[in-house]
Symmetry: C2
Subunit: 290 residues, 2 copies
């Protein structure tokens, strides 16, 4: 073991749940963080985080919580990020870096960047990791290990702030990549937001049919349960994502409609060869990412 | 241990893969079967089944394979069941019972029942179990344990034949339920066939977008992989299902379209409350079947 350099002497986590809490634990384990201060709405959750050693202390007041912080990590729901930032902003020291873990980047950057005074830096980020659980108790230090973390710097992002946030995510084992806000929001619409919309619609379709047709769902085997697991995700989070990544999501939903309609037409027409090709192509695409 | 009664002195399995092989193994383990004869297209697979003790012998000729059989279990793809039955039918002894494991019941029954002479019984069945693997090597004796097996007797099904097939599935640990052909095909369209169509369309939609947008799929986290696992299923099997359960499947696909369109409309309109309700309702439905 070589002695690690402390990258972040003082870190404030706003929203000490799975995402924020796991980052704090991982940075502590890597030995690259000094003091960690927590902030968030729920006192019982903050007490739990303290007890679990995720944070060293907490402050209920946002301005007090960020006082003296070198880095502030925002891990509250996407639509709250700008409001939260407005609240703590006056408490920041010059040169402080704000970064976030929000699932949508365009809307977040458009809401936060205009708020920032000179000398306060913002590095938009999105670690592609998570579980179905939430709250401080769900946090664990290896959540980000081997996972992608996408940073989406803008023309306003200072290069030294970007470099520090890159180092932070690398230190917890993430594979850090950079792309534009626009590309991030399209990529996520495709690989995450669309699948969630499809799963939510599927469960509603089958569930409403179920109501009429004597508990169809009780016959469902593991396949249906596994396939629809993501429809158990937090409704508030997904309402926020659907609203804030509206355009990219609608584009992907249209894309899905095209293929679903093609499949339906082939079934109606009884076109064996085209059906086989459709399923085969899909299997090949899927198997390529196994 | 009490001595078990042999339910089936001689059983022939047509198609000794995951489904057929697992049934044979489970019946042997339960001590309720005498001799098991295998039949199927691939000699290497039959040799493997012999080596693994799944079958006691095999015959390449279908009529020889069913000679003297009390029960013949059909576990070949849905669209082949009637053709296979036609081939072995002349070899059956009077009183023999044919049963199957096909994923679609209406089309199978309409194709097989008219072929049967007096004194040969058919009990249509569908064990709701499986894995992604196939072939004799994939078979294991506990596949059906705790799983539903749906039997769909018709007005032509003899009650003693039905009773024996029920006992057979109970002996391997299945929870046997009976319903009409029509209900079976609707239930399966909802909980299995629709989800597969949705997954296939989703992977095609994202994959085609990926092609244009620089390997989007490489950013996909576990969620996308898990959600789309069922799109890796065998294209031939799913072509057969889409063709043979056409009407019930199309009805469910229309049902899905209604909900997907509602979701899209709420996103376009930015209707926060309706979006939240939609996701919330879906989460509640999903969590109820956890």
């Amino acid at each position: 073991m070589t002695a690690k350099t402390v990258l972040i002497p003082r870190l404030t986590i706003i929203g000490v749940g799975l995402i924020g809490g796991s980052l704090a634990l991982a940075l502590k384990e890597a030995g690259v963080v000094g003091e960690v201060i927590g902030c968030g709405r729920g006192k019982p959750n903050l007490e739990k985080a303290l007890e679990l050693g995720i944070i060293d202390s907490y402050k209920r007041d946002p301005q007090e919580a960020v006082s003296g912080a070198d880095v502030v990590f925002l891990a509250t729901p996407v639509k709250t990020l700008a409001t939260v930032t407005q609240r703590f902003l006056p408490g920041l020291k010059p040169g402080a870096i704000i970064t976030d873990g929000g699932s949508v980047k365009g809307a977040v950057v458009r809401a936060i960047e205009p708020l920032l005074p000179d000398g306060i830096h913002f590095v938009p980020g999105h670690p592609i990791a998570g579980t179905e659980n939430s709250g401080a108790e769900a946090a664990f230090s290896t959540l980000y290990h081997g996972k992608r973390c996408i940073l989406t710097p803008t023309e306003n992002t200072a290069s030294n702030a970007l470099a520090l946030v890159r180092q932070m995510w690398s230190a917890v084992g993430s594979d850090v990549v950079q792309m534009s806000l626009e590309k991030h929001d399209k990529v996520l619409a495709a690989i995450s937001h669309l699948p969630h919309m499809v799963a939510y619609a599927l469960v509603n379709a089958v569930g409403s049919y179920d109501h009429y047709e004597e508990n169809i769902l009780e016959y469902s085997a593991g396949g249906f349960r596994d396939f629809t697991r993501i429809a158990s995700s937090d409704p508030t989070m997904w309402r926020d994502i659907a609203e804030t990544n509206r355009d990219a999501l609608l584009e992907m939903m249209e894309q899905f409609d095209v293929f679903f309609a093609e499949l339906k037409a082939d079934i109606v027409a009884g076109n064996s060869d085209k059906l086989f090709d459709f399923f085969q192509r899909s299997k090949q695409l899927r198997d390529a990412i196994l």
